[in-house]
Symmetry: C2
Subunit: 244 residues, 2 copies
DNA sequence: AAGTGGTCTAGACCACTAT
DNA sequence: TAGTGGTCTAGACCACTTC
């Protein structure tokens, strides 16, 4: 699968973001949109699209009639739920050296819930991958992914690469591009098995995600459950008025 | 505080959303952007902005070169974390008759954590409001809000209106417009007090939000903690590639 | 080849903030 | 009143899907 060049808007966004983190806007004030447009030689629309993305991710805020400003609080937020795409990346941003261990890896019959979620017939084959993500040898995340076996282009070839991030695995071996997840947030008390794999005491409370991943054709391509150690990783989210 | 007229884009968004829920696009295919623009007498940009919002909230999906389609799965998602603005609204969308009970309501000295989060001096006065939200007489959400007392325009007048949704209270009595929350998602086992107020057994697991609300000047105006009964209300979120 | 969404431009006018 | 972000228009060209 191929990737596209970054758009002008994304280049502008990266440029401004860089100037922000380098603290080039000492008073916290970002130049007017018209000025930025002229300086960078692009239209004001392109500038506005870039600023909209930066505002959405909490790097800046805008006040109509007043100006655009650096959001010092927003810049410091880590582990934003909406931005998560691979747990390796989360742990890396978290400041540790992440690693992955594949605990199990097999083709088996889907149970009723998973089959229904993936629009499969009851008992259809799925590839089940259980992984644990560690930072500095300490387990942080336990995941269990189930991918319809029918999606595998070459069932034999995939062995040994189940350590890839899920979205890479799907692009590489299923020719599917993972576009979004619908995730359910569930509080849990870890059972004996989960606690052992996560290195905590049985009954410790944690967060679980039960989620379904969709591809470029809006088809469900993976059912995932993930368990997190709250003492090592805590998620945040920016909730905005009106869904802007 | 005054409110603004809905923009053309928002009117277009509502119009298309209505046609979607009325199932007017039987084959799941939404007309081309150029057609919509001509039919509604607006520019393609306005159409695109409206469609972008609908895509973001999961109502539609778009495939470059192919078209725009109704997202049947996305339409059914309830209790989306990013869209929450008042718990009354959440419970109403959830299909029950919501009610609110104010458990306590007093001016007291902020503890260290709250004072730091709200940029107050240690021990500064805050208005503390404890509320429980019920659906059909069953408690679902327990909240504890702390607002700097210095923000209250008329400390005497506010009594008796602490049952208002927080954003309304802040607009009405503090002249602050709540723009966004930064929320931390925490798994908890309810203690005796929380369990009693939520009508569950001590030790039941649930989700808590620890959050900070910011106003139009990007100032922190409220510190809030909320506890949810997982058996009655479960949150979902759409996590997208790249933060689009 | 035809059709559709994605990106980008140039410019107009409005709403709001600050002074 | 001047300056800034917010909304909207009209049109060009590109990237991709479908037939």
């Amino acid at each position: 699968m191929i990737t596209r060049n970054p758009s002008l808007t994304d280049q502008v966004k990266s440029h401004i973001k860089e100037r922000i983190v380098n603290d080039e806007f000492a008073d916290g004030r970002i130049p007017p949109e018209a000025t930025l447009a002229e300086d960078l030689g692009v239209s004001r629309t392109t500038i506005r699209d870039a600023l909209a993305k930066l505002e959405h991710e909490g790097a800046i805020y805008r006040k109509q009639g007043a100006g655009t400003f650096v959001n010092k609080v927003g810049l410091q937020i880590k582990s934003r739920l909406e931005e998560i795409w691979s747990y390796e990346q989360v742990l890396q941003d978290h400041g540790y050296a992440p690693s992955v261990k594949v605990l199990s890896d097999e083709i088996l019959a889907a149970d009723a819930e998973v089959a229904a979620a993936l629009s499969l017939e009851a008992g259809a084959d799925v590839l089940a991958i259980e992984k644990v993500f560690l930072e500095d040898d300490e387990p942080v995340v336990l995941t269990h992914n189930r991918i319809p076996a029918a999606l595998l282009e070459d069932p034999g070839r995939k062995r040994g690469r189940d350590d890839l991030p899920l979205y890479e695995f799907l692009e590489e071996f299923c020719d599917r591009r993972l576009m979004y997840y619908v995730s359910e947030i569930v509080p849990v008390a870890f059972d004996a098995d989960q606690a052992k794999k996560l290195g905590v005491k049985k009954g410790t409370v944690g967060i679980a995600f039960i989620e379904l991943g969709f591809d470029q054709n809006n088809e469900a391509v993976v059912h995932a459950t993930s368990y997190f150690r709250d003492d090592l990783l805590r998620f945040r989210i920016i909730r905005r008025r009106s869904g802007a």
